[in-house]
């Protein structure tokens, strides 16, 4: 449709990672076809938007005006929705997301006021609202206004001062004060300096940066140009995972569009300031999220960290002063400039300002992307926003910070989300992964999972990390296989503390965290594994035993499926399992119709 005409309807179709797999593109085609059928195509604007955060309910489509959210429908429902909603002016109520949940509330008020339920969106303010591939859309939500303000009214040092005042801290996980980082880089002599956006999101189970770039690429670009102006750099690089093709595509388009509008390149907005951006692809190495390793990778080398100091702000990319910030940090910058440092610092807690984006996943009803003010408690995120634990199960632990973080049990649920409190609870803020686990999760196994990951990703440069994580993994594997020895738990703790102290970079310094925190909070579970050779969650197969009880009618079904012929017994008589032959595959239990096989 013609962009100069105000449309009667706006239909927003979520094109986030989960919804893409639920055929968002085909949905758009179907919606277009239906609109054509009713002659409404000229009056309607269709937007394929970034992640709306309702991943568990996908596909998701919002019809405006009226903010009606349709979710969990099929492509065959589209004709009905369009006809009922736009022609007959009613709703297909069975497919409309009902009013009583939090997701709804903020879409209704989004753009008008700053509060919606328990979420607050600063970094993701435009995700799901605008068409990420349209620079006009971004401009219509005051896009690039912060850049214009900076270039016309502010000196570089004013920008740095504003950043220092606002209290923003690095969103990549460590929480280093962003303003301080900027001023350290700004102080260094030029002329060549660099600005880098770290979009090498590697934590398993985290997809915040991906969604932010896919949903609103221009925000990141605007933030980086402002950063370049503040520190005196004319070149910026976005280092992004090659595994995110859509994010790369959208970023490429956004950069080209910004160049065409004179918002990137030489003499931006006639200010005399020049700045350009380049995309560099990662190649699947977790350690490249560490800033010195990332710099090595951009230089075309193996991504191995080097000791700091000198910090990248002094000696970074190609030996020049370099400012590195994470995607979410960059996305906050335009808001801080436009709404002011004092407003920004009014959000959050005393030491942690602003909001944090989390990728909520695991055993929780509403998996998806949430952004909450710092200081929101874990309980509010998991129960009020996340909707609690599904299938009537009990909450067991919540894991933040990915492979660098820790598992927090129930007594920490009222911990407010800020850098210090999470650290006191034995975890870290991290980049934003938040995995909820119910009683079916074995803590020893989870610790082993994370350690296997870091062990695999250890670059091998320093000995404590390379060898230490390997030994820890061996011990953990031994425990989960029922071969644990009495002193193993103490050994793990001692080794873990040593690796934390002696490793070169953040990967090694935090790698033992999942193990140490699960030992601290779930020690009895470790002891059961070692002493009693028992796994209460029924996850560690080597520790399970299968027995047949008196309910057995002797049908022989289990005997036939057993792959190792461990079950014997005559017809119509109670069968028995030979534990020496049993490989604990559980097939017999799945097959038995009489609930006669029990796992213990």
């Amino acid at each position: 449709m013609n962009n100069n005409v105000t449309p009667d309807y706006i239909i927003t179709i979520c094109d986030g990672p989960s919804c893409i797999h639920k055929k968002s593109k085909e949905l758009k085609e179907s919606v277009t076809a239906q609109l054509k059928r009713f002659g409404l195509l000229d009056k309607t604007r269709i937007i394929l938007s970034g992640c709306l955060g309702m991943c568990a309910k996908g596909p998701v489509m919002i019809i405006n005006p009226g903010y009606t959210i349709y979710a969990g429908f099929n492509i065959i429902d589209v004709p009905e929705i369009i006809e009922e909603h736009l022609v007959k002016k009613t709703q297909v109520s069975r497919l409309v997301v009902q009013e009583d949940n939090l997701y709804n509330r903020f879409y209704r008020v989004f753009g008008d006021v700053n509060f919606f339920g328990k979420q607050m969106r600063i970094a993701l303010r435009n995700c799901g609202i605008i068409d990420p591939e349209s620079i006009d859309d971004y401009l219509s939500v005051r896009g690039y206004e912060a850049l214009a303000k900076v270039l016309s009214d502010m000196q570089p040092q004013d920008v740095v001062q504003e950043l220092k005042k606002c209290g923003l801290r690095g969103r990549g996980g460590a929480g280093f004060p962003t303003g301080l980082k900027w001023s350290l880089t700004a102080e260094q002599p030029g002329p060549e300096k660099f600005v880098i956006c770290n979009a090498d999101e590697g934590d398993p189970g985290a997809f915040m940066d991906r969604s932010a770039i896919e949903g609103d690429p221009h925000t990141v670009i605007e933030g980086m140009v402002i950063g370049g102006y503040a520190i005196g750099a004319s070149k910026g690089i976005v280092y992004i995972r090659a595994e995110y093709p859509l994010a790369i595509k959208r970023l490429e388009k956004a950069i080209a569009d910004a160049r065409a509008e004179g918002l990137l390149g030489a003499n931006i907005l006639d200010s005399g300031f020049s700045f350009d951006l380049e995309i560099r692809l990662g190649a699947g190495a977790f350690v490249c999220g560490e800033e010195t390793a990332l710099i090595q990778s951009i230089e075309g080398r193996r991504g191995m960290p080097r000791p700091r100091p000198p910090y990248p702000s002094v000696k970074g990319l190609f030996g020049k002063p370099t400012l590195i910030n994470n995607v979410e940090t960059w996305a906050n910058i335009p808001v801080i400039i436009l709404d002011g440092a004092s407003w920004f610092s009014s959000v959050g807690t005393e030491k942690s300002k602003g909001t944090k984006v989390f990728a909520l996943a695991g055993n929780v009803v509403n998996t998806g992307l949430v952004e909450v003010p710092m200081g929101t408690t874990l309980r509010e995120i998991i129960y009020d926003i996340g909707g609690g634990i599904p299938d009537g199960k009990q909450f067991k632990a919540v894991q933040t910070g990915g492979p660098s973080g820790g598992c927090m049990p129930e007594q920490y649920l009222d911990t407010p989300v800020d850098y210090e409190s999470l650290q006191q609870a034995g975890s870290i803020m991290g980049s934003g992964g938040m995995i909820v686990m119910d009683e079916g999760a074995c803590m020893v196994n989870i610790a082993r999972f994370f350690l296997e990951f870091t062990q695999n990703e250890s670059c091998g440069k320093c000995t404590p990390c390379r060898e230490g994580t390997k030994r820890m993994l061996e011990i953990l594997t031994r425990i989960t296989e029922g071969k644990g020895e009495a002193e193993d738990i103490d050994k793990l703790e001692r080794l873990g503390r040593m690796i934390k102290k002696a490793s070169l970079c953040g990967l090694g310094q935090s790698a033992p965290n999942p193990v140490l925190s699960t030992i601290a909070n779930f020690r009895e579970e470790y002891e059961e594994h070692v002493r009693d050779k028992k796994c209460r969650a029924g996850v560690c197969t080597a520790l399970l035993s299968y027995t047949i009880n008196e309910k057995c009618v002797g049908c022989g079904a289990c005997k036939r499926v057993c792959p190792t012929a461990a079950i014997s017994g005559a017809v119509k008589q109670r069968h028995v399992i030979d534990p020496a032959k049993c490989v604990r595959c559980g097939k017999c239990m799945e097959t038995c119709k009489f609930n006669a096989i029990v796992r213990g």
């Binding site: 997809f207 090659a242 996943a361 695991g362």
Partner: protein, 169 residues
């Protein structure tokens, strides 16, 4: 076949020539390897030697980089690439069982290709589809909500189709 390979080499050379126009050309090594893998499906020694000559970067350095990053593969891939997501959300929801089932069915380990060259098996760290966990990606297509039974059915379907394609030439 030979012509096709030559055409691909020509594209790679063109890419390298473009890179050499800009500042610090050697810093683009990873981008060059991405391009080579995109064209050929994998990286082999001969290709790395060519890049070495063209870019004036030691072969040993290129080999070091290519083996450091998981994204680069050094053996030809099968017709279909099966990536099992082992992100935390998928793991909590049973990705290990799904992976074990695939291993059993295909008789390959991670990073290997089946004898008939139909499937390559690899693990992915997080495919960003945590809402659908556990997830397996076959080529570019995502399958969610799997268990060991469903994934085997899925693979058998692919194998059947691959067999038919082979017969038809």
């Amino acid at each position: 076949m030979v012509e096709l390979a030559q055409e691909k080499y020509r594209q790679l050379e063109e890419f390298m020539a473009g890179v050499k126009q800009g500042p610090r050309p050697e810093s683009n090594l990873i981008a060059i390897l991405h391009k080579a893998q995109e064209l050929f499906g994998y990286l082999d020694r001969e290709m790395m030697d060519k890049i070495s000559v063209e870019m004036k970067i030691p072969s040993a350095h290129i080999w070091g980089v290519a083996t450091f990053y998981h994204y680069f593969r050094l053996t030809p891939p099968g017709r279909h690439t099966v990536s099992v997501c082992m992100g935390t959300a998928c793991y909590v929801k049973g990705a290990q069982q799904v992976l074990d089932a695939i291993r059993n069915e295909l008789k390959v380990e991670l990073g290997e290709t089946t004898e008939d060259r139909v499937f390559s098996l690899q693990e992915a760290r997080c495919l960003g589809a945590c809402g659908l966990a556990p997830v397996v990606m076959i080529d570019e297509k995502i399958y969610g909500g799997l268990d060991s039974r469903k994934v085997i059915e899925l693979l058998r379907g692919y194998r059947k189709k691959a067999g038919q394609a082979l017969v038809q030439g």
